[in-house]
Amino acid sequence: MLVIVVYDVPAERTRVYRKLLRQKLEHIQNSVFYGNLTEGQVTKLKNQIDDQLVPEDSVMVFEAETQDYVDYTVFGSAERPGSRFT
């Protein structure tokens, strides 16, 4: 399923989530991650976020059954997310 994760956490805690999320998702903007995961991977991801959470952290996980349901437009110079080429 399509997953987008955004977070808003104190500066010293960004490293914690960045590390966790970069292993599974594409880091598309400062605190925004994007990718396609299996249901099992999503469950694991949420559990791992939950394990890291302290009161001042805020993390949101958006999911869609398939990528087909989500349209997006890219403005500016960024590459379209989901590219398989570097």
Binding site: G40, Q41, T43, K44
Partner: protein, 188 residues
């Protein structure tokens, strides 16, 4: 192959004798997972016994693993018995089995009963068990009695019989095929 004495009741007696002798490799090593598979699908058990390795990305499996790893941490400890079976013991002394969902209750129960039976028959340790479904906040006590003892022993005979076959049990459509780890090898 010493097939003498592997029929009928003596199958279980022989299995007990071999398990008690820690210096000998049992002919068929029965794990808790194999007892579960025996109850769910003997074809699955056969593939498992042949070391058929399947991609573990399948969602149900990953979820199960994660729940098992993280639930009741700090209250339970893992024990390896003679290096043959691994079970979790609560601080209170009960043997615990953690499952993702109660959808397949009988296999989970059989697995736990097998652990209790093993402790009792092989090591002379009497224990009670508890089956836990953390996602559903449910716990169920499990005890070894005459009926469940018979169920375990019948299943041991069944496991040995399946594992010793040269070919897998025949293909059969079951309601949980679609969520089975072996679906892709079983049906292709």
């Amino acid at each position: 192959m010493d097939s003498v004495g592997w029929e009928g009741d003596s199958v279980v007696q022989r299995y007990i004798a071999r398990e008690r002798d820690t210096h000998r490799e049992p002919r068929v090593r029965i794990t808790g997972l194999m007892m579960q598979y025996h109850e769910v699908c003997t074809r699955e058990l056969w593939f498992f016994s042949r070391g058929v390795d399947i991609d573990r990305e399948t969602s149900n499996i990953q979820r199960g693993t994660h729940i098992d790893e993280t639930s009741y941490e700090g209250q339970r400890r893992s024990f390896s018995i003679n290096g043959r079976i691994v079970l979790d013991m609560l601080d209170s002394g009960e043997v615990m089995e953690v499952k993702a969902s109660s959808a397949l209750e009988a296999p989970a129960k059989l697995q736990l009963l097998y652990y209790l039976w093993y402790l009792d028959e092989i090591l002379d340790i009497e224990r009670d068990g508890v089956l836990a479904y953390p996602a559903e906040r449910k716990r169920e006590p499990v005890e070894l009695d005459a009926d469940s003892r018979e169920w375990v022993e019948e299943s041991i005979r069944g496991v040995i019989q399946t594992v010793e076959r040269d070919e897998p049990p025949e293909l059969e459509k079951k309601p949980y095929c679609d969520s089975c780890l072996y679906q892709d090898i079983c049906w292709v």
